[in-house]
């Protein structure tokens, strides 16, 4: 046990030493190049936001910052949205419901124009936010579909962020297969149920 610990410490010190050398080299470098978006190896930072109620009211026109997702990044950090401060509106984006392929969470190219409509509306209404609901058809298990629905909503969120919407303005929620748009056990129903819906959040004081 002690020996294992010692070996771990030894390995860690080597890593630290190597990192220190690498840092020194960087200091000598000419231009500071922004690092890749990949999170640092090893345990993730523990200082991420602890609760949804802290929220992140983001000042300034952050909408102009475009963060495209690198393929080696696992996701874009979420911020809590205090839904109590907003009025939800399903009607605004009713025509923008996007649909997914079976057991897949990628946004299809054909669905992207719908997301562009959502993005334009958010740009024109800077006090509004949006919550993306991820849904699945019944051909997954209940537990699995909860994660799949979440992953679908997150994919749509990533697209909105890539076209310039601040991540803080885009919330996600998964309902798995619990809220089908259409009852039924055939492909017609399944196609309509594998979807992402957009709930426009308007501030109550507006």
């Amino acid at each position: 046990m002690n020996r294992v610990h010692f070996l771990k410490l030894l390995a860690l010190s080597f890593v630290l030493a190597a990192t220190a050398v690498a840092c020194k080299k960087n200091l000598k470098g000419v231009t500071a190049i922004p690092g890749p978006l990949r999170p640092p190896p090893g345990p993730p930072p523990t200082a991420s936001p602890a609760g949804g109620d802290q929220g992140l009211p983001v000042p300034g026109p952050t909408d102009t910052t475009s963060k495209s997702l690198k393929s080696d990044q696992t996701g874009i950090e979420l911020a809590g949205i205090d839904r109590g401060n907003y009025i939800g509106d399903y009607e605004q984006f009713k025509q923008q419901t996007i649909y997914f392929a079976f057991d897949n969470s990628e946004v299809k190219p054909a669905e992207k124009p719908k997301l562009d409509v959502v993005a334009e509306h958010l740009k024109a209404n800077p006090t509004c936010k949006v919550e993306i609901e991820g849904h699945c058809d019944e051909r997954g298990t209940e537990g699995y579909n909860l994660s799949l629905g979440e992953r679908r909503a997150l994919s749509a969120r990533e697209y909105l962020i890539s076209v310039g919407i601040a991540g803080e303005r885009v919330g996600v929620i998964t309902y798995g297969e619990t809220k089908p748009a259409i009852q039924g056990h055939d492909e017609t129903a399944w196609q309509k149920n594998r979807r992402g819906e957009f709930l426009l959040l308007k501030p109550k004081t507006q």
């Binding site: 609760g51 997954g140 799949l148 997150l154 929620i173």
Partner: protein, 381 residues
């Protein structure tokens, strides 16, 4: 005292003369154990029959049975078990002081213990998601679905139920705040405390057997990832770093490892991760496609899971991976404390019902005498 001593003497004597022909093999093998059952009526008879059949027994006539069970149920329940061949008496008990169902369950558990040497499960509890008229709540019931009691009154979606060891606490994801958050619910006091309510979804809580740590799926970093924290929320640690979604973690009984579903290599597959962090090791489930919803057996030997062929199938694989045993159509298995019986969900039309499965004999009993849907079961152990 003297009576039971006499029983032991009788039994020992008979056993020496004519060893009963290996019951153990029948019980752990795939064959039913033939017993007869005489003298019971009504609810007690029905409950006893259910309990014994799902424990791997077959009710046959007294002449062909290996053991004869006899007794009565009037103001109390009596039960005697005799080895038909050796005439040895294994059990002679009277049960009283509780409703007939409970007395029958108590007798069934004693019969199972005497004949198989392993504790019965007839008095254990299950939790599940109940859905009637679009309203979902968490419920706790007897293992056969009877005496269901509602544990929540939120009128909000509740999913991913998980009993804590000992059965006095329940964990689940509730949408009652508007966000899917994880709570631990003390069934004695009704008090509940958030375990995880980070931005994004907080799903699929699984508590370690010592009741101290929770494995769960949290998406606050922008992707559903496996996390572990203490029940009091301290020491939140991320264990997976994938672009794909993880789901449905469960603990090895020794608390050293977590089995989780990931799509990191394409299709959903089972992986084992050290609970203290480390590489994800894939569990070989040769031939089984789209494997989800693992549950580690309490004895640590096997992992039950759902696989998708044309429909969902309940399967079991050795915990180290290997040959997959396809058992029956259904999904979301949860092991009983005996590492032998499984509760799972079956889809019947638009409805979902719970069923019990005796793994060695593949016998299934459906618990469908209720309105609405029941799913996502967790067995208290």
């Amino acid at each position: 005292m003297t009576f039971s001593s006499l029983l032991v003497v009788l039994f020992t004597f008979s056993a020496q003369e004519q060893p009963p022909i290996v019951i153990q093999k029948d019980v752990t093998g795939a064959r039913f154990l033939p017993v007869s059952m005489t003298g019971y009526s009504g609810e007690v008879q029905a409950v006893l029959k259910f309990d014994l059949e799902i424990a791997g027994f077959d009710i046959v006539n007294p002449e062909t049975a290996q053991f004869n069970i006899s007794g009565s149920n009037n103001s109390f329940v009596e039960g005697r078990v005799t080895d038909r061949v050796t005439k040895a008496a294994l059990l002679a008990n009277r049960y009283e002081g509780a409703p007939p169902r409970s007395l029958a369950h108590a007798l069934a558990d004693d019969i199972v213990l005497k004949i198989t040497g392993k504790p019965g499960i007839a008095r254990s509890k299950i939790a599940f998601k109940g859905d009637s008229g679009g309203r979902t709540e968490a419920y706790v019931a007897d293992y056969d679905g009877a005496n269901a009691v509602r544990a929540t009154q939120d009128n909000a979606l509740v999913v991913a139920l998980c009993f804590a060891s000992g059965g006095n606490k329940l964990l689940y994801t509730s949408y009652k705040s508007g966000n899917p958050d994880i709570y631990i619910h003390d069934l004695g006091s009704g008090q509940r405390t958030p375990v995880a309510n980070y931005p994004g979804s907080n799903l699929s809580p699984a508590i370690s057997r010592d009741g101290r740590r929770v494995a769960m799926i949290i998406s606050k970093d922008g992707n559903p990832e496996l996390y572990v924290s203490n029940v009091d929320r301290s020491n939140l640690t991320r264990l997976t770093h994938t672009r794909a979604d993880e789901s449905s973690p469960c603990w090895s009984p020794d608390g050293q490892s977590i089995c989780v579903v990931s799509r990191k290599d394409g299709a959903p597959a089972l992986y084992v991760v050290p609970a203290s962090g480390g590489a994800m090791r894939r569990i070989s489930t040769a031939g089984a496609g789209s494997t989800t919803e693992p549950d580690w057996s309490p004895d640590g030997k096997e992992i039950a899971f759902t696989a998708l062929w044309r429909e969902f199938q309940i399967c079991v694989v050795p915990a180290k991976g290997g040959e997959v045993n396809v058992l029956t159509a259904g999904e979301d298995p949860s092991w009983a404390p005996n590492s032998r019986t499984i509760v799972f969900t079956k889809r019947v039309g638009d409805k979902r019902v719970l069923s019990l499965l005796d793994v060695p004999t593949k016998r299934v009993k459906t618990l469908d005498r209720h309105s609405g849907s029941r799913s996502l079961p967790s067995w208290a152990k």
